[in-house]
């Protein structure tokens, strides 16, 4: 079973977001593997351990994204590829990823259901369409047998069991597994593993972006609200009165 994992490097979840010249300031920010992509790496490794095969991690990003790929290699992935200095939007990233995997042999492509920075939740599904593969999103349980995948996926107020032939694109959600930490041995071995770097030009893909960001802005600072004084009984009554008469929400 050969598995490709799409992996995006993102800001740490604690990162304080500031603007500099109208762009998100990246200085002093700690970077991590997108948490959902970490579930994808772990799942790929578990499948490999059970059934054999190879795990390849791919990222579209800048030089720094090498760290994230190295970490996945240290967890146990076999090979990594970085497509450097991309331009553009989700449409473009999906096109680039499709080209990057075109020459590879794979049975399954895993990714996160959303990246916690841009958070559009588009890239993996766009990639599935680009490769004309079936996709199952927001998966919390994945079982493979006889060239089929049985996936439990989250929907509003419940779940769905979806069955699909392989190859397919599956995006991971919390609950699927507990990602491992890289071992010291893993970290040592990762240094020797292949981390191929290519550019979109070398892949022969040139794409125009379809979405233009006009402005980035920070949300207006919320004024701290009213603290309601008094004992529980009094304060409770007052809160209900305010919700009814002032906020008019009940």
């Amino acid at each position: 079973m050969n598995i490709i994992v799409c992996l995006k490097q993102t800001f740490d979840t604690e990162a304080k977001i500031e603007l500099k010249d109208g762009e998100i300031a990246t200085q002093g920010i700690k970077h991590i593997i997108n948490p959902y992509d970490e579930f994808a790496v772990e799942e790929a490794l578990k499948i490999k351990e059970a059934q054999g095969g190879e795990v390849t991690v791919i990222s579209v990003g800048d030089d720094q994204a090498q760290e994230a790929l190295r970490q996945a290699l240290a967890m146990g992935a076999d090979k990594a590829m970085l497509v450097k200095n991309p331009q553009g939007d989700e449409y473009a990233v999906a096109k680039v990823l499709a080209k990057a995997v075109a020459g590879m042999e794979y049975d399954l492509i895993l990714g996160g259901h959303v990246a916690i920075d841009d958070g559009s939740g588009q890239v993996a599904t766009r990639l599935a369409q680009e490769l004309d593969l079936p996709q199952v999103n927001v998966v919390t349980k994945l079982e493979l047998k006889d060239g089929q995948a049985e996936c439990t996926r989250e929907i509003e107020g419940g779940s769905e069991i979806v069955e699909t032939p392989l190859p397919a694109v599956v995006t991971c959600q919390k609950g699927l597994n507990e990602p491992r930490y890289p071992s010291l041995k893993g970290i040592m071995q990762a240094k020797k593993k292949e981390l191929k770097q290519v550019t979109p030009e070398e892949l022969g893909v040139e794409v125009e972006k379809q979405v233009e960001i006009l402005e980035i802005f920070l949300p207006p600072k919320k004024e701290a609200g009213k603290i309601i004084e008094g004992e529980a009984e009094e304060a409770g009554k007052e809160l209900v009165r305010l919700l009814k008469e002032e906020a008019k929400v009940i």
Binding site: T13, E14, A15, P35, E90, Y91, A94, I116, D117, G119, S120, G121, Q122, T125, R126, Q129, P134, Q135, V136, N137, E150, R153, I155, E156, G157, G158, S159, E160, I161, V162, E163, T164, K174, G175, Q210, V211, E212, I213, L214, I216, F217, L218, P219, K222, A224, G225, K226, I227, I228, E231, A232, A235, G236, K237, L239, V240, L242, A247, V249, I250
Partner: protein, 321 residues
């Protein structure tokens, strides 16, 4: 030339977000001087077309087929993609729900189109749609426009106002369906909502955190929620402790919610929790620590023991509702 709303229905019931998109879509269509139309897909669903017309759809494309009785990404996207190719709408709107998130990127890529996800606002500027959406879990926002045609967008539920329903019947265009092989198929659907409103659609959410001290204490939140017709959410601390299931988690790695009122009980207000609920219209917090970060967000705060305050609230809500 038209704005399309892809209607979402489950078990023959329309999702509120579809009607919200129509209400907003009607305004936008007027401003742009174009038509508002809806697409309805499923099995035995034609009866729903009138509701779509009532909220402003001048025409409803209805694709009915037994194979479309259960949702499939490939089947539904094929129907929509063929319709787009034939009719060339200017914009296609989906709800940012499990359905829309699964379908919209597939449709967009097929059309070679750009898409803006999880939008919280849209306006017309210089004859173009400009979308506002949160990034970094609401720590920043972008305004963007889509350069392709069609423009694809997914709308966050519960953010757009619902207009008035008109008394009208639908102008229906029946769509011929000839599905290719569908590979990924839904075998089973497990609903777990137990009759309560869904978190992502709820007008009022009552949420509990580590301050609830144990799973059994969520009963007092359930009782308050029953009185309010509210949904019950939880912080990750409560979920990780095994007190609530993950699907009720609000936050960066849980659900994003936009209710009119969010009542946070025993929740400290960690950045990852705020990420999921900061777009609530009103926030009320009960926490015994006056330094808790949630009070920086809350419109109304009570510094006290939640076990004393929540029962009072429940009784008071009963009186005024």
């Amino acid at each position: 030339m038209a704005i399309w709303v892809i209607a979402e229905q489950r078990d023959g019931e329309l999702k509120k977000v579809s009607l919200e998109m129509l209400s907003k879509g009607q305004e936008l269509a007027e401003e742009l001087g174009t038509e508002l139309e809806a697409v309805l897909i499923g099995d035995e669903i034609e009866g729903l077309a009138d509701s779509l017309a009532a909220y402003g759809a001048a025409k409803v494309y209805v694709a009915e087929d037994e194979e479309l009785g259960t949702y499939s990404s490939e089947g539904y996207s094929q129907v929509i993609s063929e319709l787009i190719e034939e009719n060339e709408p200017d914009a296609v709107f989906f709800g940012h729900t499990a359905f829309g998130k699964d379908l919209a990127p597939r449709v967009a890529q097929k059309a070679g189109a750009g898409m803006v996800s999880d939008i919280t606002a849209v306006e017309v500027e210089a004859d173009q749609l400009v979308f506002t959406r949160p990034i970094y879990a609401g720590k920043a926002f972008t305004k963007s426009k889509v350069l392709s045609k069609p423009v694809v967008a997914t709308f966050r539920p519960n953010v757009q106002d619902l207009g008035e329903a008109a008394e009208t019947s639908a102008n229906i265009e029946t769509v011929d369906v000839d599905l290719a092989d569908i590979r990924a198929k839904v075998k089973e659907v497990k609903q777990q909502s137990g009759g309560r409103v869904l978190l992502t659609e709820a007008d009022i959410i009552v949420s509990g955190g580590r301050g609830m001290k144990g799973p059994e204490n969520f009963d007092i939140l359930e009782q308050m929620a029953d009185v309010l017709g509210a949904a019950v959410g939880a912080s990750r601390a409560a979920v990780d402790a095994g007190w609530r299931e993950h699907q009720y988690q609000v936050g960066q790695t849980g659900k994003t919610v936009s209710p009119t009122l969010y009542i946070a009980c025993g929740i400290s207000g960690a950045i990852q929790h705020l990420a999921g609920m900061s777009s609530s219209k009103y926030i009320a917090a009960i926490n015994k620590d006056e330094e808790a970060n949630i009070f920086n967000m809350a419109d109304y705060g009570i510094v006290n023991d939640l076990f004393k305050v929540v029962p009072v609230l429940t009784e008071e809500f009963k009186k005024v509702l």
